[in-house]
Symmetry: C2
Subunit: 119 residues, 2 copies
């Protein structure tokens, strides 16, 4: 059956959460948001394009930094209200220059830094 | 530094998105939501407890189905507005009885089912 972005469920701002996962390692890199047009752009270009809530504009990941996310596959969940983008990430995914945005763990009530910025 | 759930950023409904990832395989299982109290319950009990937006109540994953998520580690992202729960999932994570909720891929504009319900 053909896919149409309008079949998904968006929040009041017209956005849906997107998990980016690195294909080669399985590492979860980040969580960001897309609107229907960002989904279409992502599928058409093969470069993951989010909607930036802070800048209120499309955010072609890596367009400025070079840290592009090449789309391997886009999946959606049983409720149609979340996306999983399997990607090949160039360089760090995080704006702090870390591989993943999820670099802080909670262990025994303490915050533990799991990784350092990449060189 | 001690962790306090109040340091995280919640949406207008007081919720934060949570990605559940299976420790043993790296598979992304689902995306759901927590409020600050659900985070505290999850950390205290070691059983992942979400906030159900449809039932407007705590949702101790597996309390009814037996498909418990044992917390291995809770992480949060650079902006403090998303969580990653590394878990050991008992049985299927999805209410459709599939391992993961992300069982549909978009390939060449078509929807492709990636996995069948577990026996």
């Amino acid at each position: 059956m053909p896919f149409d972005p309008s079949q998904l469920t968006y929040n009041a701002d017209g956005l849906i959460p997107v998990i980016a996962q690195e294909k080669s390692t399985g590492e979860v890199l980040m969580l960001a948001w897309m609107n229907a047009d960002a989904i279409t752009r992502t599928l058409e270009t093969g470069h993951v394009t989010y909607w930036s809530r802070s800048r209120n504009s499309f955010w072609a990941k890596g367009a400025t930094s070079g840290h592009v996310q090449h789309l391997v596959e886009l999946r959606y969940d049983c409720d149609g209200d979340a996306l999983l983008a399997i990607v090949h990430q160039e360089g760090p995914a995080c704006h702090t220059n870390r591989r993943s945005c999820f670099f802080t763990a909670i262990r025994d009530g303490e915050q533990v830094e799991l990784m350092k910025p990449m060189e």
